[in-house]
Symmetry: none
Subunit: 211 residues, 4 copies
Amino acid sequence: MSAATAPLKPRKSPIQDRSAATVEALHAATIQVLIREGLGRCTTTRIAARAGTSVGSLYQYYPNRDALLAAILTRHLESVADTVERTCREHHGAPVPRAAASLVSGFLAAKLSKPAESKALYAVAEGRGGAVLVARLRERMIKAVAAMLESAPDAHFDDPVMTATIALSALMGPVRTLLEGRAPPGFEACLEEQLTLLLTAYFQAHRAGAK
Amino acid sequence: MSAATAPLKPRKSPIQDRSAATVEALHAATIQVLIREGLGRCTTTRIAARAGTSVGSLYQYYPNRDALLAAILTRHLESVADTVERTCREHHGAPVPRAAASLVSGFLAAKLSKPAESKALYAVAEGRGGAVLVARLRERMIKAVAAMLESAPDAHFDDPVMTATIALSALMGPVRTLLEGRAPPGFEACLEEQLTLLLTAYFQAHRAGAK
Amino acid sequence: MSAATAPLKPRKSPIQDRSAATVEALHAATIQVLIREGLGRCTTTRIAARAGTSVGSLYQYYPNRDALLAAILTRHLESVADTVERTCREHHGAPVPRAAASLVSGFLAAKLSKPAESKALYAVAEGRGGAVLVARLRERMIKAVAAMLESAPDAHFDDPVMTATIALSALMGPVRTLLEGRAPPGFEACLEEQLTLLLTAYFQAHRAGAK
Amino acid sequence: MSAATAPLKPRKSPIQDRSAATVEALHAATIQVLIREGLGRCTTTRIAARAGTSVGSLYQYYPNRDALLAAILTRHLESVADTVERTCREHHGAPVPRAAASLVSGFLAAKLSKPAESKALYAVAEGRGGAVLVARLRERMIKAVAAMLESAPDAHFDDPVMTATIALSALMGPVRTLLEGRAPPGFEACLEEQLTLLLTAYFQAHRAGAK
DNA sequence: CATGAATGAGTCTTCATTCAT
DNA sequence: GATGAATGAAGACTCATTCAT
């Protein structure tokens, strides 16, 4: 994710079977290198080597290194966004406590299912290209959460989008703290409970008639 | 912040005036380059040039590039931690709503006083050396917040460190969202109010006898 | 046209129609890519793509990239040489003024009929393999011109080959200037007239008995 | 000389003595590599190696390979242009035969003093960046020649710039033929005489009252 | 001490060519 | 025969770091 204006879209979609395998290997390899070596040492050479192919093949499918990283990041972010959207849809009309609990549980499940990957991708998200992707996917999630909030029977939100933005960001903070290691022991254990408490309390502060 | 094992401490303390001035210039230059060019293009040459000295001088004060970046990051994080500590000390014994409001206001003031710098340093914090610093300073803040929470007359916290960790992290999330741009319009305007609401509600959910 | 020792002859003669069509497509594509992208970006992949075939097919007809380029260049140079030869043959025995005018007009017609192509091929001719081809074809033209000069009734040339060489080269200079762009406005308009004047004057300086 | 828009100007002028030596070595090395290996194999690595320095040093003085090549080409073209300009200035007011003879002799001296270098630079001049330089310098020479022609007492030129353009280009053709090798034996020997004859005849065809 | 020239390992990226399908 | 995926050598360029002046 450096600067400059270059296409970040994949180059071509695999036609033959070999291709699909190569692309899959590249993805897996990228994540592994990212985890084991960090973004700084996540070079095309290393990726290709770990994937068991050649740099040339990498460039057959991605116009440059950043496009590959962007693809990986997109995949991850979309899976999280999908989970959140699904959760929100399923809890349309649910009362605040259940809505909050589900949102937390869905988000955590998505983010913590592959913790190493999630953690490694923070560095990718930091890059220029990453910020755009993060923003795009965040928007999707905010919309979904806001819609769920609006449909809650036991609270009224004057600015659901704002509330959703705060809520989601507030969720991301602790998750990041956890993933980046260095969290106090037992942190993960009560994370879900505490985050549910956090959001429930926050949402309920908007209880109909409150304020 | 790449890998390798090298000393990250400045080489000598600025005893003389000239030294202090040079170091100051280097710090300022580093931040400017970081903001204008990004971590990737924040090279020793560019830093020295903007600081009005030479690479040679840079290496007189820092054993390597990462040490310089670490110094900058440390400075920033410590200023934030200091603010948080001071705030917590000053509100020892304060009731939850005032404690929450002060914490939010202090943290925001520290983080948003130089937004560009805060934003740029995210990238530095991502690096190997950065994670350690972030963790260290976070711990200091957590202790301070936990102490304040314990002293609150209107609530009882079974695990104040845990609560403080969640609370601080929950603060960092939205702030990062804001700094990384792409936040909805009007986000900054109500950030303080919403975060205060968030923390107050969260802390009050621990009200004595609650649960 | 890089170095190395490799056969520069086409691999097989297009006996079948499909072959002929493919070869033709490759030729046309090569010229287009050459014009649009320059020699540096005139890659086998791009040529094949524009020709609507695959690299594999390209290598069915040419042992390597340089052979293809050589074929294109040869074709061009031969067409020019053919024109010059024909013109000289047709003006065997013509007096100097008419001979000069015809030579100029024939040469210009050949070189300027596809100006973009002519221009693009200069780069190809610069390459190792190109020099040989240029030399070979130049020789043919020199012979033709020399023969025409010798047959002129109104002049005598002590060294017709030398005179022909000078004359032809003197023609090529201005044409190159024109093709490479950057010629003064109106240059093309009077080129034929001026070149005719140039050669006529030069030839007539050899008028029988002159000097 | 590839495409793209990049600065072709040298990066910094040598301040220390070492620098000047390095730059000189780079120039000499570039010409040697160009002559011995051709433009295609004239890589930064090879240049640096032959110069006895490192690629890094090369990039200290030139922002990219093309800038170095452009510098070399400029040097050459300017020396030729200077010679031509001086010659023209010195023969201001000279009659056509002497003017022509001097022009030819000056041009040949400049172009043939380092034949290998002159030849090798044709390839450089072919590139994008080269064309501009060639055009610029050609213009200078044309102006000089045109001025000289206008001052000739024994001829009148309706369009001196046009005549100068033709004359110079007509000179360049045979010189290129010679430099590119493959010229008939004895070609070089009578080149000056023949070119003088060519230009004199051409110019005299414009004799006052002629036509 | 300050300077800035030199270094060269390490990046990304391209492209001619081969060969399995 | 045709296709296009795979290969990897080779090129341009950057940058942290050193060290002579």
